[in-house]
Amino acid sequence: MVRFILRRLGFMAMTVILASIIIFWATTVLPGDLASQILGRFATQQAKDSFRKELGLDRPVVTQYGAWLGDWVQGDWGESASTNTAVRPIVFERLRNSLMLAAVAFVMYVPLGILLGLIAALRKNTWIDQTISVGSLAFIGLPEFVSGLILISIFAIELKWLPSQSAIAPDSTFIEALPYLILPAITVALTSLAYVVRMTRSSTVDVLQMDYVRTANLKGLSPSRVLFTHVLRNSLLPTITVVAIGIGWLIGGLIVTEAVYGYPGIGRLLLFAIQRRDLQLIQATALLIVLIYVVANLVADILYAVLNPRIRYQ
């Protein structure tokens, strides 16, 4: 078991490193000569050279990469060119906001998703199941700006129950931020809900067909006991994996939602950085998001292995 975890950690490290190479390459090498872009094509060679030297761009690419990665790992994330402040504090502040949004959304969709998925599976092929299944299909892949804007138009503009924009002060407390979190959380939860419902439904349907459910029924156990002791234990396992991976997306992947609501989370920060071509900020933020994603995957893998006796006891 320990070996399993170590192996996974090793792969995770490898993945993050490879991802960092891609990020670095995409931001530093791909765009081409930064000096020409910032100083203009007609700047003198000398001006470009000194510019490059100042930024350390005259070193070989690999060295630049190594330096950057080394710094990042140690916590030195450089300075943001567009705001002229250190990168790290900004990122962490935004990260906190994203975590708050993630928490609210999580509470909304996980219990509901599992419940709906179970109901759909137990009532397979009835109108309830059809409604839930078609409904969940509809929401998967629905872009958040569509659902978000529609939600805003109904709840914020028409009914005026909730604020339409969530540009809270970056240092708000959770309580202060709560009313602004609701609509974005619902927007996010809609898509994630669909995934959880589908996964739960499909794995529960699979489990209900299994022989051991037949055995449990034929042992004369009560239906609730069959469901809770025998079915759920096995059918929720894949769902847990999906939820764990989803947490990664909840924290780092909400770029569009944050843009729709103007919410100061980490996704919006990345967008901001990209629009301003703030390299240090882009690199640090992107790598952090990837790290969060990868860790979420790792946790999902480990959870699955721990909860599944077939893997736990090889």
């Binding site: 192996r7 022989d211 051991y212 055995t215 042992k219 004369g220 025998h230 077939r310 006891y313």
Partner: protein, 705 residues
Amino acid sequence: MGAPDAATSPSPAATASRPTFEIEGLSIDYATELGVLHAVRGVSLSVREHESFGLVGESGSGKSTLAMGAIRYLAQNGRVTDGSVRLNGVELLGLSRKDLRALWGSSIGVVYQSPLSALNPSIVIGKQLAEVARQHLGMDKPAALARVVEMLTKVAMPDSEAVMKRYPHQLSGGMLQRCVIAMALMTDPSLLIMDEPTTALDVTTQALVLDLVADLKRDFDSAILYITHDLGVITKICDRVGVMYAGEFMEQAALHELFKRPLHPYTLDLLGCVPHFDPTPVKRSLVTIPGSIPRVDELPPGCIFAPRCTYMEAACAAARPPLSEVADAHLSACRRWQDVPTPVEHLRVATEAVRDAQTACARPEVLVDASGTQVHFKTAGGMLSGRKGRTIRAVDGVDLDVCVGQTLGVVGESGSGKTTVARAIIGLTPATGGAITLRGKPLPRSTGRRPRATLKEIQMVFQNPDASLNPTRSVGDAISRPLVLLGGLRRQAAAERAKELLTAVSLPVSYFERLPHELSGGEKQRVAIARAFAAEPGLILCDEPISSLDVSVQGSLMNLLMKLQVEKQTSYVFISHDLSAVQHLSDAIAVVYLGRVMEVGDATKVLTPPFHPYTEALLSAVPLADPDVKQKPIRLSGSVPSAMDVPPGCRFHPRCPRCLGDLCRQQEPPWREGEGDHRISCHIALDELARLQAETLVLEREETV
């Protein structure tokens, strides 16, 4: 006995003569895409306490549906439409689900086919079994666990305390089935339903489980309904037998009566489809039932078996004969029951001699010679996991000869390496050691390195008919391809020849255009055989080609294989765990265990004493479809060791009932030569073995003419 029923139980005096379990006129329908199927129609049977009723039938017979329907556990689209089912006098068909649940698990116990899937993989054994005790016997946790230990001991489970804490995937198939049986019997149920409980197990394990069931039958009062397709297994445990066909009973009788003097042509045919254990010098065909099992929505008017019946008359097709008592406790659904001959007569009429059994061939006649063949797999050690790689010694030094025009049967259980040997010969799994020659010339180890001419010589028929054919290619394409690729024919000529091959395997030429999903399992296997013969090979490897098919289909395929062998003088290597089938087809037999040959020689020699102790155990374990056969119960303990941990010395020694001690544990046994090319690998001398084993298998049978 057992938990109180939902309604009051009748008084003891009345139950004495009443059967425990009665089914009367039961009909079950299924609603499907294609309409309503009358899966079971007007079926009746009864089982008394201590009695075991064997329910025999092929696919589509409705036997499982009948049992499950009778206890009201049907699929969503299943419905009981008529009849009555009574357990201890209580009518089951009107009960509410709540009442049924009170009966399930307490008065009714069920054991079915695959023990690993029957148990919840996420809960330890002890807890799962204890659930029954807590639910129905009102015990609290400690008492329930104690009862579980008690039951596990009753089913001869070694180390019950440890087993309780294990998860299902950590136990072997045999042990799991014992657990399931223990669970079913925990409440001393009135009715025990067993649906193919040993089909997924090895022969030797099956024998142990059958012994167990026979013992439990004595110790518990339960009425047992035992469902199977295997006629041999029936003879071990059943008192009465009922034969079902396409949803109805054809015959019901006491065990001995049914086997010795059946009164229905279908039973007669079924008995004739099973190879008899009779190493005679002449190989006979098996009974073939023409046509195929009808779909339940396309039943003929009149007797449903009539279209396939040897003794059919015009009147048979007019009205459906009811199942009626025609002799003492003997029911038959045939109007001509009086004209039905004895099994021996029927065999004489319906089968014929095909060819002589051949003995070991002379050297120049050897087609394929494998010597010292080894197939070792290395498991990945993995730098990150820090484990060393282990070696799986799947085939560990095997010598085999296949002669021109002969059949070599290779028999063994799971883990024996028999399939791997075949794959090494054909090159799918390249050998890692030893040499294989084809007509004297060395054979490259993998298919990739073999020239066309060599590939043409060796072909294979695989185990799973559903996966043998590419689902997106038509039957004609599948057969034509080897003709084009290996036979060098052009498209047109190949298509013509393919049609000829279809006829040779008794399939209509119109099948040329069909896709595999439009064929039945037996038909697909015929196509696979035609495809194998298309290249005109000298050797065809048959890897369990019939194991997954119905009994009657198995018989007809074995006939086909024999017929084609005579016509084309092809050799076969026939691999199977089914000793009866191997014995029926083979001229020479090799018995394999854990990667080594234990015994090899002419079929007649191998199957008469002296045997290798493993062969002996196999022979005494194989259930023969003959209640008069006496098999001495030689049983093997434990299970097959992993090929990663081959025992030192004689690899069979940990399980050998005749182990001599240190000699067997430390030294590899020598080859002992018997008559002809018969060889046994054992420390015990041949005459000693012959003396000890004289009574292992005693066949008392009337002379076949």
